[in-house]
């Protein structure tokens, strides 16, 4: 069975039991996953708690316009057809891509791993999450689920109960990993329920770059729930890039959470061009003085795609600083929304924070909304936002055409130029090229 109906909005099965029967989803199935993987009790309990949350949580109403699901239309999603996918933990050989410290390749057939030995010898630990649970259960237990939360969220709860794989990246104190860690996952199973979890721990004074790329086949109709939990220690620096080229019929829910300690720096890059419906909620806590965030988002939605992004920066400590830069393009009948919030509680003085969003609309049917909000309780701060929404500038198109470029070529150049300020910040050159190609393909 495919996880998508063609048009008709379909209600969830009336009772939990029928949903359970149809999809093999249920507390028993959760137990089986934990048992099959020999997971420690705390992890089994995490999964079961998520399952209970799933059962408790209200069904999201399957139309857009409701609180928290603003704009997102999930009417085509059919939970009862989904099957949890557990990536085979078997490790297959992989040669280390040039210029990387380690690499993971998630395929249906298994997870390929490669790492440069010298980094491992110095304490860098990278593994797919299932393996990390086996190899370093105590370490993983300290961080996994420390930030992620699924309260009240039915779909994320489901993904958390049945998560199959992910990444665990640990950088010990003072280790500066100057080559990126390169992770990619290719989700091809039809009607899959995919739970993905990323944990990055950068101990004080360390630094690391993680590039995480999601790809998916056309027409797999999967539900992907992705969690990331980033821990940036004092004086540490983490660059985290997610490149999301999800399969065209997939529903994607992502929850990103990060905490940055004193003098730590998080450079976060999120780009998205795939998926049918993508909802992404990010929350970054700058929890100690002089913690810094630089967040860059770029997306391109076309066809009937729906992207719904929320980013919240909480300046919990004085002198923390954040800069958010967003560039988004919508085309055809695509819908996108971005809500950016800067929160400065009382007492967090000398905070600097800025949110800048630019959107480009390439057709009359496409729509994109940006809603910035500033919640500021401290008085000695520099906080602001700027939003610019525009259509294709016909004078620019004409200028380029007058030099011989066809209209298509001109638009391609303009869209690339529009996204350029965001894309240049991508840490992996090869990944940047893939994004650029994907974007070109859409124009």
């Amino acid at each position: 069975m495919i996880g998508y109906a063609r048009r008709q909005p379909v209600a969830l099965a009336a009772s939990e039991h029928s949903a359970e029967r149809a999809a093999g989803l249920g507390a028993g199935a959760v137990e089986r996953v934990a048992r099959r993987r020999n997971e420690p009790a705390w992890l089994r309990e995490q999964r079961l708690a998520a399952w209970r949350e799933y059962e408790r949580s209200p069904e999201p109403r399957w139309q857009r316009g409701i609180k928290g699901w603003w704009l997102t239309d999930l009417s085509r999603l059919r939970l009862e057809g989904l099957r949890p996918v557990l990536f085979s933990p078997s490790v297959t050989g992989l040669s280390l891509p040039q210029g990387t410290a380690a690499a993971l390749r998630h395929q249906e057939s298994g997870v390929g791993v490669a790492e440069a030995r010298d980094w491992a010898a110095r304490g860098l630990y990278v593994a797919d999450l299932a393996r990390a649970v086996r190899e370093r259960p105590l370490l993983v237990g300290r961080y996994l689920g420390g930030q992620a939360g699924v309260a009240g969220d039915r779909l994320l709860s489901l993904a958390a109960a049945f998560w199959g794989s992910g990444v665990f990246l640990y950088v010990p104190e003072g280790l500066r990993v100057d080559l990126p860690v390169d992770v990619s996952a290719n989700f091809t199973t039809p009607a899959a329920l995919l739970g993905w979890r990323t944990v990055v721990v950068a101990e004080p004074g360390s630094s690391v770059t993680l590039s995480e790329e999601f790809l998916g086949a056309e027409g797999t109709g999967a539900l992907l729930g992705a969690f990331s939990e980033i821990y940036v220690g004092a004086g540490a620096s983490v660059t985290y890039a997610t490149l999301a080229g999800h399969g065209a019929s997939n529903t994607v829910l992502a929850q990103h959470r990060a905490i940055v300690k004193q003098d730590g720096q998080l450079n976060w890059f999120a780009t998205n061009w795939g998926g049918a419906t993508v909802r992404e909620v990010s929350e970054i806590r700058l929890s100690e003085p002089r913690a810094r965030l630089e967040m860059t988002g770029a997306f391109f939605a076309d066809g009937g795609q729906q992207f719904d992004g929320t980013a919240t920066v909480v300046h919990e400590a004085k002198q923390s600083a954040a800069e958010i830069l967003l560039r988004g393009v919508v085309k055809d009948a695509a819908r996108a929304a971005f809500a950016g919030t800067i929160r400065v509680p009382a007492g967090a003085q000398q905070v600097e924070s800025h949110l800048a969003s630019h959107t480009l609309t390439l057709s009359d049917q496409a729509r994109v909304d940006v809603v910035p909000s500033l919640e500021i309780a401290a008085n000695d701060v520099r906080v602001g936002h700027g939003a610019a929404a525009g259509k294709l500038d016909e004078e620019q198109v004409f200028y380029l055409m007058s030099r011989g470029l066809t209209r298509d070529q001109a638009i391609r150049l303009l869209v690339r130029g529009f996204l350029e300020p965001a894309l240049t910040r991508l840490p992996l050159a090869a990944a940047r090229e893939r994004v650029e190609r994907a974007v070109e393909g859409k124009i």
Partner: protein, 254 residues
Amino acid sequence: MAGELRVRDLRVSVEGKPILRGVDLTVRAGEIHALMGPNGSGKSTLSHAIVGHPGYKIESGSVSLNGENLLDLPADARARLGLFLAFQYPVAIPGVTVANFLRSALAAQRGGAPVPPREFKRLLAENLDLLGIQEAFASRYLNDGFSGGEKKRLEIMQMAVLRPRFAILDEPDSGLDIDAVRTVAEGVNALAGPELGVLIITHYQRILDYVRPDFVHVLLDGRVVRSGGQELVRELEERGYDWLREEAASGTGS
């Protein structure tokens, strides 16, 4: 007709308002024509209409290049036939570097074949040098934050890279300092030759002292009211446009 840009009885309106009211003009390969005329007389309208700006409505008349009717072609096709306009007000395109833009334009001119990097690098360096533009400009965003004079130089520099058959230069000298006028004029002269036809629009004699036009035309209220040689420039410089206006009003114009 080979080797000529031919405008016949061209009538153009903008947002319903008639601007050009029957313009005739022929520029042959190897010739340099100057077009002068008061502000608002329609000079830029003419240049936009010739290169195919969609905002200018052609009411009647014809424009042809080497015998081929241009009016049915979109701007890019006209450019690929060898038509070029150095804009009076070039637009800025943030995010697109000068080098990237020129590489795309050159490839488009050559039928889509990518330009070999080595050749492109040489072309770029040579022509930046020709117009006295620092090499660093190649990696700046197109016209973004450029000074007025820098934009004008870059327009002529593009012409040098793209090598059109017919070039319309819409006030390439306005806003330029004295040395820059000479640099731009020398750039134009370096490109001029038996293969190139040039229509240069200007308000000032100075650039025409360097780029010596074979013909000078005056556009007034959407019509060419007088044509002559270099001496006409001097006459306009001394007398202004009123006498032509009076002549036009009394129907005694040439």
